[in-house]
Symmetry: C2
Subunit: 481 residues, 2 copies
């Protein structure tokens, strides 16, 4: 491009919020990973033969198989002549008919209502009701393009300055970077509260109080984000902890945003998933009247269908006038009908007596059992590494181990102008082909260092990964002893 | 809800842009339509037995059939065991394999790159190259969740105040309300320019100049939106008109946003689709260096797959630093892999000699021929109605006829506190069950009145609709003569 070229849109006049959006490190590593993959392809000699990326919750990419029933329903919906194919089971056909009957013109290629296909909202409400043992009004349920889309729709309602102060949103640290990036995009202030690593990554109310008190000087706190089960921290909050959080939110006038997309991923014998809705409702007034949005997704759990971009949210006790505006504002972003279709078999799985029941239960159990044993293998092995300590993965699909670096390792990182965890992750990548995401991108207590690794790798692959990581880790620790 | 109930989020502290988002009339009519449908279901006697809603480009809902090849590819991608099913043709299997091989872990359930699956971007680039006869760099092509998503991603780059003035975006009037609503949401100033109804809804440069000159007092004009073929006006811009528009945009330092989603819907013998990219490139420098984003969708054309929410954009000559930010900012809204999959058979349709070729060509031709004859039937019939005049539908899938109301009709509307076009649309709905969208929602020159009706109704249904409309219209004109 010639130097005199005149651009209308430049870094000087671009949306400053978009410019600010910080994708912690991903981009940097992504480019290097792509380079390494090219080098391997071109025969450049490396100490490894493939790149392993257990850094995101991309289930199918890393090894999880799709659930047959979900895919059968989807393929019939997309190609209805399969309704006459005897190879497809009757219950899959029945779910497909439910969806097709609800589509305008009988085609999944039509626009749906902005809040989603009514019958799927109703079935999602029944699913929630069964989960919590508490009534659910289907009109409180809306379908969305993945939890991310649903969360953005709610968060954007809060964008407003008051007397020159921005609205603030409390987010856990460490956190899945979607939140920090979205808050940057929306110009919302990030109020960071640290999870308590020494107490299995639980939420510490004193820390929340410290965090919000400090933030009040520069913003108006309005929303409290809770990720349960935790991403990337793998904790499952106790009922008591949830009660404390709700009391805190009530006292501080905070709208609760409960990211509960990993609700089906519970591994610890001592843990149980309690939805914020259930606890809040059972606490009675005034808590039961609080505003809450909860999010569920088809991307996690045993389905792992990230590529469909589908989920649903339940919003309770929203001011009726606000709800009207909220629904009105949802209209332009018409939901993907295919994504919505994927939710139907998830909220209406095969029941005992239906032809797909046994296969469905087996596949679901196999996946959840594997995730559980992979989580245990991962944590147990990492805890044997010198200087590494890792909390139990009670749920979700990530471990967030801490590493204690020697002073010499910290010095070596400083010489490279890198944080110690980024330095370590870079060294791991260059020497083993394994990408573990440095803690810096998720946030961590200053002068503590972590990395994030998912529990998704199948056991045989995970063993190889851990073996390679162990060899490297020993060498690294010795090098900087 | 008890009166003393305390809401954290209210109309007083909600995002003012979201509160402002104006859904022109839709909501109002939607509620009444739902009511009428309930009444019919419950046996309340009406002068009609069903509600006909030819008001949106919701192709499959109104009667268009999906293309077999697209659906076969999709169903295989979703349920890969169908690769072994002899009932599916080899070319559909080949396209499905291309997609599955490009998916992480071989599953459409995985996340894709934020800019879309690379091989589909490459095929889309080949499609564009073939269309224009001009090279297309696949790295300029990104996949998006429908054109709406792609357009929002570009528009949001421009949100920035300068010396207290908001950025301004030129939009045609009448326009598809997506633009006005999105600009409200983003706090961007709407610079409305009127299309020239007397010249087949072409773009009049003097009118653009008037519009931008006036707007400069209160905003900084930055973007020019062109919808070609027109929605809801059905014009196809001539090459000469496009050249004039490009010269105007250059002179005024405007980024061009070309909404070309109806590029396959051309009916008039005298019209041809020219992409803005083709014209701009062929005009040579300095125009060929201008910043341009063009949008295509699977929702329109002969596929009509609105429910998939998929499309692609080509962005030319974007400042490299801005492009880096743009791609970075795209990351959180990961594209739906299923939607992307739908694009592959669209940009790589069956070729001569492949097993699906003949059926594909037949289905495509049947749909486009039907749309053409429906458009002609609609316009020819409406032009016979007293007081109605309608431009030829040269392309897209909408007519936007003008009605001249008598003074008495205008008075009657005023008595109901309604605009004459809304009054007319209400009367049509209540008497015939047909919903035609009043022009007010799209914008129109003051003291002119229109309505919008799509060309999508199949001929037999359209004849019935037009007959009923004619009977009502005569009665209405007589009533207020």
């Amino acid at each position: 491009m010639a130097a005199e070229h005149k651009y209308f849109l430049t870094l000087n006049n671009i949306n400053p919020n978009i410019k600010k959006m910080e994708y912690p490190l991903c981009g940097l590593f992504e480019a290097r990973i792509a380079e390494l993959e090219r080098e391997i392809k071109n025969g450049v000699k490396k100490p490894f033969t493939e790149i392993i990326k257990p850094d995101t919750g991309d289930c199918h990419a890393i090894g999880q198989s799709p659930i047959t029933f979900i895919r059968q329903v989807m393929s019939i919906v997309l190609y209805p002549p399969l309704l006459d194919d005897p190879k497809f089971p009757d219950d899959a056909k029945q779910r497909a008919r439910v969806i097709l009957n609800a589509c305008r013109g009988g085609s999944i290629g039509s626009y749906t209502d902005a809040t989603g296909i009514e019958i799927i909202r109703k079935h999602a409400a029944e699913f929630i009701e069964k989960r919590d043992g508490i009534p659910c009004n289907w009109e409180d349920v809306t379908l969305c393009g993945g939890a991310a889309d649903g969360i953005k729709k709610i968060l954007k309602l809060f964008i407003k300055e008051t007397n020159g102060k921005r609205a603030g949103v409390m987010i856990p640290i460490p956190q899945y970077y979607f939140y920090s990036v979205t808050l940057d995009e929306f110009g919302l202030h990030k109020i960071r509260y640290y999870l308590d690593e020494s107490q299995k990554w639980s939420v510490n109310i004193e820390e929340m109080q410290r965090s919000i008190d400090k933030a009040k000087e520069i913003c108006i706190p309005k929303v409290l984000v809770i990720i349960n089960p935790g991403n990337p921290t793998g904790q499952v909050l106790t009922r008591k902890n949830i009660e404390e959080i709700i009391q805190f939110a009530y006292k501080e006038n905070l709208y609760i945003l409960a990211d509960e997309v990993h609700q089906n991923n519970i591994y610890s014998e001592n843990s149980k998933f309690y939805s914020f809705k259930k606890v809040m409702t059972e606490m009675g007034k005034p808590y039961a009247d609080m505003e809450l949005s909860s999010f569920m997704s088809c991307s996690k759990g045993y389905s792992g269908e990230c590529g469909f971009r589908a989920g649903f949210s339940e919003t309770l006790n929203m001011c009726p006038e606000v709800k009207a505006v909220f629904h009105k504002a949802s209209s332009p972003m018409l939901c993907s009908a295919t994504g919505q279709a994927c939710l139907e078999p998830l909220v209406c799985p095969p029941e005992s007596g239906e032809p797909s029941y046994e296969l469905f239960i087996k596949e679901k159990k196999d996946i959840l059992d594997s995730l559980k044993s992979q989580a245990k293998l991962l944590v147990d092995t990492l805890n044997k590494f010198e200087g590494i300590s890792c909390n139990e993965v009670q749920g979700a699909m990530y471990a967030f181990p801490q590493i204690k670096f020697s002073l010499r390792a910290i010095e070596a990182a400083k010489e490279q102008n890198q944080s110690p965890d980024k330095f370590y992750a870079t060294e791991v990548l260059e020497n083993t082909g394994i990408y573990i995401a440095p803690g810096e991108g998720f946030g961590q207590v200053p002068r503590t260092y972590h990395f994030c690794v998912t529990t998704l790798l199948p056991v045989n692959k995970m063993k190889i990964m851990l073996k390679n990581l162990e060899v490297f880790h020993k060498e690294f620790m010795d090098r900087y002893r």
